[in-house]
Amino acid sequence: MGRYFLRRTGAAIITLIAASIIIFGFIHLIPGDPIYVMLGDGATPEQVALLRNRMGLDEPLVVQYMIWAGNALQGDLGQSIFFDTPVTQVIKEGAETSILLATITMVWIILFGVPVGILSAIRQGTWIDQGLSGLAMLLASVPTFWVGLYLILIFAAGLGWFPSSGFPSIFEEGGLSNLRYLILPSLALAAPNAALILRLTRASMLDVAREDYVRTARAKGIRPYRVVLRHILRNALLAVVSAFGFTFAALISEAVVTETVFALPGIGRTVVQSILRRDYPVIQGVILVTVCLYLVINLLVDLSYRLLDPRVELE
């Protein structure tokens, strides 16, 4: 376990270094002087010189990367050009919304995708299965923003059950009840991903049900529901757990859209705005933090996979 963990962590660090080089480099891939790209054509020579100096752009590229990466390691991701505050500060402001949104979304995905997938597999071929599979196909194929707009139309504008936009911090007026602002966005974000997990759970259950060891379990005279829970589900979940890493990646990109549709003050919306404002340090910082998070989550997924599957230990 320990050696495996070290090896995986090593691989994650190498990935992180590679990603950081790409993130660092992309500012230089843009045609033209990045300073002018950031400040626009109307910038005075003094402003240009100041920013160039502040960003260390007159040093050689390698030195620039070392400085940038070294600062990042110490938790300094530079200054936002637009806000003139540290990038870490900008990220922190969006973090509460984004983390809560992702967590509630994951809860929906697990609560809906896995049990409904099981139900669909157990009732394979019946109208329940066909209905659920059809619904899953539909949800998986419509874009998140479209689901979001319809949810707003029905449950916010129409029925008035939930607010349609914004999210006041749970540490302010309203406390935890502010979470109701995140219900509709998280549902919109969960819909396509829950549908994928549903279909994966179903397919995986049906695959495992054909395995020889399931026949062995039945031959023992165990009752069918126990065969499903103990023998089929346990093995089927291995495939589902390993898919959560990808689900997280999908969540990151779809969160950008969802936060924009629901006007949530999250990191996703910050990125969109920073792109429009050409606030490169913020974009770089957010991407770097996201990559770190992605690597950590995948590491956790891998570790939990190992806890569930004793066979991996040998490899």
């Binding site: 062995t216 039945r218 023992k220 005279g221 103990r230 066979r311």
Partner: protein
């Protein structure tokens, strides 16, 4: 006593795979079921267990054990009705155990179903001793992938024994194992059969294994039994030309002939079985009557029977 009466297994909306098979198994006796691969041996055994895959079903016939009708009953229903004490060891030891559960859990699970009042862990250890697994304490904690094929097959037998079967069905249990391990497992099955006074249905495509192990033999061809006999008269003087051809294919230790005999042609697939005797297209003795109509049952002096118009070894016919 297990009584199988004329069972037919069919593909749903498709051909018959097992076409009217009957046999009996007494306590303490090993019935060897031989036949080429694809002849329907596994589907016969799964039908007995009530474990046919969803695409197949038992469309006719009955299965009774000690007078109780167990036809169509799945194993858990047999447990509930306290009848049909059968257990099965499958062909593939590598895939027949759950990869994520420890050996102990997989045996104890069966113990809890069939001996609900017994302490499962000591009973599981006792079962591992019965199948001669060394170092039981260690093996109980192992996962299937940590065991060799032979050890896994012993675990499968232990699981089967946990069901306290009156009939043990072993479907080619040694086909995937090397020869020395194969001999050990065969010896173990014979031993358990005698000690527990348990009937055994031993399925194999290897007539040599049958000669070593079985008391009686049923020869299966294209979904039907073509010959039934005690092992000794069968090997001395087979009646059915198919049995004779199978024996001719056995390696002969006395001859240096490197080329083994084979039966020309191939067995018909379900749905494409010729009328009359199913073996007739491959049979050197086939004549006009074999090609259509019902096939008579030839009887030998030792009680053997064969479905054939022109049996071999006429001298032993009754």
């Amino acid at each position: 006593m297990l009584n199988v009466d004329n069972i037919v297994v069919s593909v749903r909306n498709g051909p018959d795979i097992v076409r009217g098979v009957s046999f009996r198994i007494e306590p303490g006796e090993i019935l060897g079921l031989v036949g080429e691969s694809g002849s329907g041996k596994s589907m016969t055994s799964l039908a007995l267990m009530g474990l046919l895959p969803p695409a197949l079903h038992l469309s006719a016939g009955s299965i009774t054990q000690d007078g109780a009708d167990v036809t169509h009953l799945a194993p858990h229903e047999r447990v509930r009705r306290k009848c049909g004490k059968m257990a099965m060891v499958f062909q593939e030891p590598m895939t027949s155990l759950n990869p994520v559960l420890r050996i102990a859990e997989q045996i104890e699970e069966a113990v809890r179903v069939h001996d609900p009042d017994t302490d499962a862990s000591p009973r599981a250890r006792e079962l591992l001793d019965m199948v001669r697994i060394p170092d039981t304490a260690h093996q109980m904690r192992s996962f299937p992938h940590e065991l060799s094929g032979g050890m896994r097959q012993r675990v499968m037998i232990a699981i089967a024994l946990a069901c306290r079967p009156q009939v043990l069905i072993a479907d080619e249990p040694t086909t995937a194992l090397d020869v020395t391990v194969q001999l050990q497992v065969l010896g173990l099955i014979r031993d358990l059969c005698n000690r527990l006074d348990m009937g055994v249905l031993f399925i194999t495509h290897d007539l040599g294994v049958v000669a070593q192990l079985a008391d009686r033999v049923a020869v299966m061809y294209a979904g039907s039994l073509v010959e039934n006999a005690d092992v000794e008269p069968l090997f001395r003087a087979p009646l059915h030309p198919y049995t004779g051809a199978l024996m001719a294919c056995l390696p002969n230790p006395e001859s240096d002939d490197a080329v083994m005999a084979t039966i020309s042609g191939s067995a018909p697939r379900p749905g494409a079985i010729p009328p009359g005797c199913p073996f007739s297209p491959r049979c050197s003795r086939a004549q006009q009557p074999c090609l259509s109509g019902p096939v008579p049952c030839a009887r030998g002096v030792a009680g053997q029977t064969a479905m054939c118009h022109f049996p071999l070894n006429e001298s032993v016919l009754a």
